[in-house]
Symmetry: C2
Subunit: 400 residues, 2 copies
């Protein structure tokens, strides 16, 4: 507790950032903040995107996938952000995946095409929305894994005088999908018999592979999951059923699945942002997975110091995804570890007791990127310390 | 797989709900849906509030707290919804708590007063916002636990020619706050010496007590935490420092803390909604905690049946809070258990294999209410099966 006439926290803040919050608000609302705002002007907790790292992640993945002769349709459930979807297309993506119809509608309204909805569109109302989307963006692909759903989609497409593209979702991860082999081929035959539908191909997403630790181990798990999908595709083609698409793959398996003959398209998501979850899976060479940089962070403020070696920050369950067994990782605070301390707070245990004071700011690598992004309305895009852009996460909350 | 000419799923849906999705959208946008929409018209996953249960929860808690001679200031971080904040005030609440300044600003803009911000407002920009809020709602109380922060608030209040109400946050849970006893009394003396500040009293929130399983055990933990707070209040009064407020307590301890002499106000939140987390803590009489009803649920749809005894629903990490070790609890599906299956899906393991088909809807009690509400923009308020109102969760995402 200092007793200086000029409060230390205020004078430090004054040195770092001269603007009032009213000015910051006005600049953000008007959108003309370029070069005028830095990260220290942002209200914490704030979602930050390092543009240099983001751009290099996107360029690296796009180049890798294309140079291996595969299509690139990154998953929009990671970013939920039309501005990013557009940048991915400019980088060579064939389009963007969307997890649900409501997410795809946001992308379509923003002018995007090339959409693939990776979850089956089930029920009369969602099928109505699918038809509406297909009439707006005729190249949209809808995943199916159920004969009744195929018939319902066909009836709706015919009533609207449309032809809808469908891909068969294969059961390769114990989640959604129809069994590979004969059941999938039978569903393909049903689809080709429906005048309102066009079979685009297959989807094979092996979630269990993406986070398997150790490259060789991950390669084995992914190959085991993908091989029956590739064989199903061959079986369909032997029967004369065209199957131009076999989409799958993830940030963890991009350099595994691009070596499997028969996979035509990759749909990774996390590579653009990265997170603690992917940092620890291990790379092709070496124990650390360093293929992509940690572009996504959350900026927090120390709001309390209940003990010399404890700093409480203003980000808890509502600022970070909590679906993993670990929390976020503080950057640049050597030896500090984070533990969740409720909805609104996190507890940093410090190795050097004087390393953080009330009012200091701490940047954290997010534990799991997708559900973290889904907690924020906007991301602040930085070039170095400067705020270059603010991107709306317009599909946040669109889980329907 | 049925082969009926009229698809079974469609005809079942037609029987239940005749409206098109375009009509539903139009009714929701216009707000004139009363009596016209039922829960089956809503796009899943949807956050549902059972109004009968909600109203009875609010009435029960308000009556209990008031009849025990305490003030009632429920926590707005649970609902983040101005409409609910207003109803709580009409039910007798003195006001609403807010976790952060941005949450309080939403309530203030909606016309609410009686706000108490339970986290310290730290840093030049947040203090600027606090001054703005205090000038709009002069009865707002700001929590402090740090001498420098007290001086900064005083300087800002004086510059704005205001007097701001502050409460000392006590360290009773290992999270935020200043130590009870002499350190807290010294901070109280500092506050009373600052011309821009008025000491409202003390905050003592014992998070560790609220979820302690077993009533007697919980009573012991809460009393251990609250006793030093009550003693600090007495010490202050012995020194002639007025301390009209001692606020704390939770849904788990409302009938414990109202029996502790010296606690003036309760700030529970979860009681209005309830969740799996509170269902399992045990009641005063009996093993189950049934004091309040499960008013808050999420409505989901089965989108895939990869095996006879497995139903995949369309709600995962983005539809439910994931900060507890357990997921949501399906209602009315005997013996079914839920496990998270990624961002977008959950896996129900069924005891009766035929109990759920693709397209069926499943209502779930949420694992933890506060961070679940924070995932949704609106809650659909039901009276029986009918949608009576849609309430905006306007402070969703306001963690700043």
């Amino acid at each position: 507790m200092t007793t200086a006439a000029v409060p230390a926290a205020l004078s430090a803040a004054d040195g770092r950032r001269g603007r009032s919050y009213a000015e910051v608000e006005k600049l953000l609302a008007a959108g003309n903040f370029q070069g005028k705002l830095t990260r220290d002007d942002l209200p914490t907790p704030a979602l930050l995107l390092d543009l240099d790292l983001f751009e290099s992640n996107v360029a690296k993945m796009a180049t890798y996938v294309k140079s291996h002769g595969r299509d690139f349709r990154p998953h929009g459930k990671t970013h939920k952000c039309p501005e990013i979807a557009k940048r991915l297309v400019r980088a060579g993506a064939r389009g963007n995946c969307a997890a649900k119809i409501s997410e795809a509608e946001v992308f379509a309204r923003a002018g995007l095409s090339g959409l693939l909805i990776t979850t089956a569109v089930v029920g009369r109302h969602k099928i109505e929305r699918a038809v509406r989307l297909a009439s707006l963006r005729p190249d949209t692909i809808f995943c199916v894994d159920n004969a009744q759903n195929v018939r319902d989609l066909n009836d709706a497409a015919r009533a609207a005088k449309l032809k809808m593209n469908v891909a068969i979702d294969l059961l390769v991860s114990g989640r959604t999908g129809i069994a590979t082999g004969a059941p999938a081929v039978a569903l393909a035959e049903l689809i080709t018999s429906q005048p309102g539908l066009k079979l685009a191909g297959l989807q094979s997403y092996a979630g269990q592979a993406s986070h398997t630790v150790g490259f060789e181990n991950r390669k084995r798990v992914s190959r085991e999951a993908m091989t029956p999908a590739v064989e199903t595709r061959r079986e369909m083609e032997r029967k004369g059923i065209a199957c131009p698409l076999l989409t799958g793959g993830s940030t963890g398996t991009y350099n595994i699945d691009t070596e499997i003959e028969g996979i035509t398209e990759l749909q990774p998501g996390s590579f653009m942002f990265m997170d603690v979850d992917y940092n620890i899976i291990g790379g092709r060479e070496g124990e650390k997975y360093t293929d992509f940089g940690n572009a996504l962070t959350v900026y927090t403020t120390v709001v309390s110091k209940p003990a010399d070696n404890v700093a409480i920050v203003d980000g808890g369950f509502k600022a970070f995804a909590t679906d993993r067994r670990f929390g976020p990782e503080p950057k640049k605070i050597a030896g500090a570890t984070y533990a969740f301390a409720g909805d609104e707070h996190g507890r940093l245990t410090l190795r050097e007791t004087a390393s953080l004071q009330v009012g200091d700011q701490v940047e954290m690598i997010v534990p799991h990127c997708d559900p973290t992004v889904n907690l924020y309305d906007r991301m602040f895009c930085l070039r170095g310390e400067k705020v270059e852009a603010v991107w709306r996460i317009s599909a946040r909350g669109m889980s329907q």
